[in-house]
C-alpha cells in the first residue's frame, strides 16, 4: 500500500496549483490580447495561415490605395475630356455659322477671334496637370506636352500645335495580384496626332479659311470636326469602361478584404464567451485547490497529542 506523507501531499498540491495557475494565465493572456494565437506554438498550422492572411491583407490594402488613386486619375481624365467635348461642340457651332455664305467678312473675323480663343483653351486643356503631372504626355508627364515659342508679336506661337507628338507611354497601376491597368490617355489619342482630323490642324484650317472668307473650306472642315468628336467620344467611352472595370476591382478587393479579415479572425481571435466561461471555471478550480490545500496542510497527529 502506498504510504502518503504530508510532503507528498504538499508536492502534489503545488504541482496542481501551478498547473491551474498556468492555465489561468494562458486564458488571461488570450482575454487580454483578444487572440487565441499569441505565439507560433499556440497553433503551428494556424500561424502559417495567419501570416498569409496578414500579408494578403497588407497587399490588398495597397491595391485598394492604388485603385483609389487610379479612380481619381480616371475621373480627372473624364472631366478633362468633357471640357474638350464642350470646346469641340462650340467649334462646330462656330464653323456651321462661319460656313454660311451670308456672313460679312467682319462677322467672319469675329468668329475667327472666338475660334482662336477656343484653340488657346484647347491647348490649356491639353496641358492639364493632375497632381503635378501633365496627364496627356504619357510617361514623360514631367514635361509640358504643348510647349510653344513666343512669336514675334509677344504671344505664344501656337502654329506648331498640330505637329506635336505626345509620349505614348502607359502609366500602369497595379490594382491586383499581377493585374495592371493603364490609367492615362495620350494627347494624340484625344486631339489627334498625325491624323487629318487633328483638332489643332482643323482649327488652323478653319481660322485660315475664315480670314480669307473661304466658307466652303470652313464647311469642308465640319466632317473632320465630327470624326474628331466621335473619336473623343470613343476615348471617353474607354475611360468610362476602365472606370467601371476598376470599380468592379474595388468591390472585389473590399469583398476580399472582408473575407480575409474574417479568415484571419477565425484563425487568430479568441472567442470571448468561451474564454470568459473557461476563465471562470479555471478560477473556481484554482480556488477549490487553494482551499483544499489549506485543509490538508492544517492537520496532523501532532495536533491531537497532548
Amino acid at each position: 500500500m502506498l504510504r502518503v506523507t504530508s510532503n507528498m501531499m504538499n508536492a502534489q498540491l503545488l504541482l496542481n496549483l501551478n498547473r491551474n495557475a498556468r492555465n489561468m494565465n494562458d486564458t488571461q493572456l488570450q482575454l487580454a490580447t483578444g487572440r487565441k494565437l499569441n505565439k507560433p506554438s499556440d497553433d503551428p498550422v494556424g500561424i502559417t495561415y495567419s501570416l498569409r492572411y496578414r500579408s494578403e491583407l497588407s497587399a490588398n490594402s495597397q491595391y485598394q490605395e492604388n485603385v483609389d488613386d487610379a479612380i481619381s486619375w480616371l475621373e480627372f481624365n473624364d472631366t478633362v475630356l468633357m471640357q474638350t467635348g464642350d470646346v469641340i461642340q462650340r467649334l462646330r457651332e462656330l464653323s456651321v455659322q462661319g460656313a454660311n455664305g451670308t456672313n460679312s467678312q467682319e462677322a467672319l473675323n469675329s468668329i475667327n477671334a472666338e475660334v482662336k480663343q477656343l484653340k488657346e483653351q484647347l491647348i490649356d486643356i491639353a496641358n492639364s496637370q493632375f497632381k503635378g503631372k501633365y496627364i496627356f504626355n504619357g510617361q514623360q508627364y514631367d514635361v509640358q506636352p504643348y510647349q510653344f515659342p513666343t512669336g514675334p508679336d509677344g504671344t505664344l506661337d501656337t502654329s506648331t500645335a498640330s505637329s506635336i507628338v505626345t509620349d505614348d507611354g502607359l502609366l500602369n497601376y497595379a490594382v491586383g495580384d499581377s493585374v495592371q491597368l493603364p490609367i492615362n490617355i495620350t494627347g494624340n489619342e484625344v486631339f489627334g496626332g498625325q491624323d487629318g482630323d487633328n483638332i489643332f490642324a482643323v482649327i488652323d484650317n478653319i481660322s485660315t479659311a475664315l480670314v480669307s472668307g473661304d466658307t466652303s473650306e470652313v464647311s469642308s472642315q465640319l466632317g473632320n470636326i465630327d470624326t474628331r468628336y466621335n473619336k473623343l467620344l470613343a476615348v471617353q467611352a474607354e475611360v468610362g469602361a476602365k472606370s467601371n472595370r476598376i470599380e468592379l476591382m474595388k468591390n472585389r478587393l473590399s469583398d476580399l478584404e472582408v473575407n480575409l479579415t474574417d479568415l484571419q479572425a477565425k484563425t487568430e481571435d479568441g472567442d470571448y464567451a468561451e474564454l470568459l466561461t473557461q476563465s471562470k471555471i479555471q478560477e473556481n478550480i484554482y480556488n477549490a485547490s487553494l482551499s483544499v490545500g489549506a485543509k490538508i496542510i492544517q492537520n496532523s497527529l501532532v495536533d491531537f497529542i497532548r
Partner: protein
C-alpha cells in the same frame, strides 16, 4: 540460575534502545523537510538469550531472554526507484532546456505581431508599389529606402539575437560543466567518507543521503549510469567513467560537446547539457541558416521575371532567354540568350529572363540621377564576407544617401548623347513590387516566395516548440510520479513519526516501571527479609 541483577540489565537495555529509537524519531522529524533525506529506523532485535554453559544444561526450562538490542539504524530506500528517477530526471532536464530555447526563439521571431519580419516585408513591398505610382517622387523614394533599411535592420537584429542566444547557451554549458565537476568530486569524496565510516561497522546514513542527492542533481544535468560497488558509487556517462571509487575525473565544455557527438550516437543523450548543445546545434543553427538563406534569396536568389515589350535596358545587360530587339538603327534582330544588350535597343516583345534576386532585378533598370548607368545592387554586405546573410545584409548605403539612385525606369528617349531616362516609366518599380509573389530559388534549391520562406520557418518553430512543451510536461509528470513513489518509501510522515514516538515513549516508561518493580523486589529481599528475631 540467573543473576540477581539480570533484569536490571534487561531494563537498562530496553531504556537505551527505546531512547535510541526516540532519538531517531526526533532526527526524522527534524529532517522532515530536508531535501534528499531518507527516513531512518532503528532495527531492534531481542538480545541473545542466556544459556548457562557448563557440563550440563540449566535445570530451568526454556531460554531466558536478556532484553532488546539494536543492531543498526537503517535508511529506508529503494534503489530501483532511484535509477528510474534519474532516468526521467535526465530527459526532463533536456526537454526543459529545449522548450526554454524554443520559447526564446518564439519571442525572437515575435509572430504574429505588427513588428515581426513578416510585417516589415509587407511594408517593403507596399513601398515599392507606392513608388510605382510616383516614380519621380522623392518622398516615395525615401519611404522605399526606409522600408528597405528596416527590413535589413530587422534581419540583422534577428540574426544578432540568434547569435546572442547561441552565446548564452555556450556560457551556460561551461557553467554546467563547473557544476558537474563539483558534484563529481563531492560524490567521490563522499564515497571515501562513507567507506571509512562503514568499514568500522557503522551506517553513514546521512552521508549516503547526501551522495544520493548529489547523484539526483547530477542526473538532471547529464545522463548518468550509477553502479554501486563496495567502494561506493561509480558514475559513468555512456562509456566514460566520471567517478570511480574515490577518484573523480572532470568534464569541460569541449569534452561534453565531444560526448554529444552527432546528437544520436554519442555518449551524451539527455540532461540539461544535452538540451543546451542540441538547442544550439539543431535549433539555433537551423534557424540561423534558414534566415541567412532567406536574406540571401531575397537579395540574390534566382527569380524569373517578364520584361514587357518596349523596355529599354542599359547596354551590356544580359538576358537568359533569346529576345527580339529593335536596335538603335531601327532594325529588328534576335538577341541570343547570354549576349550583351547593345546600346539604345528596345524590346520588341515581352521576354522572360531570370535575374539574381532583387539585386539583379534592380540592376536592369535606369536611375533618376541623370546618368544612363544601370541601377546598383539594392542590398550589400556590411563588413567582410562574400555571401549575403541575415547578419550582414544592408541596404546599399550609396542609394540610401542619394534616393535618385533607386532604379524604377526601363525606358529612355533620344539617341546617342541626347539619350535620357524617362522618369515616369515605372516598369521596374512594378516588377519589384510584384516580386512579393515571385518564386525565388534559394541557394538550397528550395523555391518559394520570400513570405513563404519566412512562413515555413515560423510554422516549423511552432511545431517544434509545441512538441517540446508537451514533452516537458510529460517528463515533468513522470518525474513527479517517480518521486512520489520514492517519497512514499523514503519520505518522513509526521503522523507515523508521532505514533512511533508514542510507542517508544510508552515502551520507555514501561521499561522504567519494570526497573522500579525489580528495585522494589530487591529492596524487599535485601531490606525487609532476615529481620526475624531482631
Amino acid at each position: 540460575m540467573t543473576s540477581t541483577f539480570h533484569s536490571i540489565e534487561t531494563a537498562r537495555r530496553s531504556l537505551v534502545t527505546q531512547t535510541a529509537a526516540l532519538n531517531t524519531t526526533g532526527h526524522n522529524i527534524a529532517n522532515a523537510n530536508t531535501e534528499g533525506y531518507t527516513r531512518q529506523s532503528v532495527k531492534m532485535a531481542a538480545a541473545r538469550p542466556i544459556e548457562a554453559y557448563g557440563f550440563s544444561n540449566s535445570t530451568s526450562p526454556g531460554q531466558l531472554g536478556t532484553g532488546v538490542e539494536f543492531g543498526s539504524i537503517e535508511r529506508i530506500r529503494e534503489t530501483f526507484l532511484d535509477d528510474q528517477f534519474r532516468g526521467e530526471n535526465s530527459s526532463l532536464g533536456s526537454w526543459t532546456i529545449q522548450s526554454d530555447t524554443l520559447d526564446k526563439l518564439e519571442s525572437i521571431f515575435n509572430e504574429p505581431s505588427e513588428t515581426g519580419i513578416s510585417t516589415v516585408l509587407d511594408n517593403f513591398w507596399k513601398s515599392w508599389s507606392d513608388l510605382s505610382k510616383n516614380p519621380e517622387d522623392s518622398t516615395a523614394r525615401k519611404i522605399v529606402v526606409q522600408t528597405s533599411q528596416s527590413m535589413a535592420d530587422a534581419l540583422n537584429y534577428m540574426s544578432r539575437q540568434l547569435d546572442n542566444l547561441d552565446t548564452d547557451l555556450a556560457t551556460n554549458i561551461s557553467v554546467k560543466a563547473t557544476e558537474i565537476n563539483g558534484y563529481l568530486s563531492s560524490i567521490a569524496d563522499l564515497n571515501e567518507s562513507i567507506f571509512r565510516i562503514e568499514s568500522m561497522g557503522d551506517k553513514a546514513n546521512d552521508l549516503r543521503d547526501q551522495r544520493d542527492l548529489m547523484t539526483d542533481k547530477l542526473s538532471k544535468i547529464i545522463n548518468i549510469n550509477v553502479s554501486r560497488t563496495d567502494s561506493g558509487y561509480n558514475i559513468s556517462l555512456g562509456g566514460q567513467q566520471l567517478v570511480q571509487g574515490f577518484a573523480a575525473s572532470s568534464v569541460s565544455s569541449d569534452s561534453l560537446a565531444e560526448a554529444y557527438g552527432d546528437g544520436v550516437t554519442g555518449d551524451l543523450k539527455s540532461g540539461e547539457v544535452y538540451g543546451m548543445i542540441d538547442s544550439s546545434k539543431r535549433y539555433v543553427a537551423d534557424y540561423k541558416t534558414q534566415l541567412n538563406n532567406m536574406a540571401n534569396t531575397i537579395a540574390t536568389g534566382a527569380v524569373e521575371i517578364t520584361l514587357p515589350k518596349g523596355s529599354v535596358m542599359p547596354a551590356g545587360t544580359i538576358l537568359t532567354n533569346d529576345a527580339s530587339i529593335i536596335q538603335a538603327d531601327g532594325t529588328t534582330v534576335t538577341l541570343a540568350a547570354g549576349d550583351a544588350m547593345p546600346p539604345g535597343a528596345t524590346l520588341n516583345a515581352d521576354v522572360k529572363t531570370t535575374v539574381n534576386g532583387l539585386n539583379g532585378l534592380h540592376q536592369l533598370g535606369y536611375t533618376l540621377d541623370g546618368s544612363l548607368n544601370p541601377g546598383k545592387p539594392l542590398f550589400t554586405i556590411t563588413g567582410d564576407g562574400s555571401t549575403i546573410t541575415a547578419g550582414n545584409i544592408t541596404f546599399n548605403p550609396e542609394i540610401a544617401a542619394n534616393t535618385d539612385l533607386l532604379a524604377t525606369s526601363l525606358r529612355t528617349t533620344g539617341t546617342g548623347a541626347s539619350e535620357k531616362v524617362v522618369k515616369g516609366n515605372n516598369t521596374l518599380a512594378l516588377l519589384i513590387a510584384n516580386q512579393h509573389s515571385g518564386i525565388f530559388t534559394a541557394p538550397t534549391g528550395i523555391k518559394g516566395t520570400p513570405n513563404t520562406f519566412y512562413k515555413t520557418m515560423v510554422g516549423q518553430l511552432g511545431v517544434q516548440s509545441q512538441e517540446a512543451t508537451r514533452q516537458t510536461e510529460n517528463s515533468n509528470y513522470l518525474v513527479q510520479q517517480v518521486d512520489a513513489r520514492r517519497q512514499s518509501v523514503s519520505g518522513v510522515s509526521l503522523d507515523e513519526e508521532m505514533s512511533n514516538m508514542l510507542v517508544f515513549q510508552h515502551a520507555y516508561s514501561a521499561a522504567a516501571r519494570f526497573m522500579t518493580t525489580y528495585d522494589e523486589m530487591l529492596d524487599k529481599l535485601i531490606n525487609a527479609t532476615g529481620t526475624v528475631g531482631r
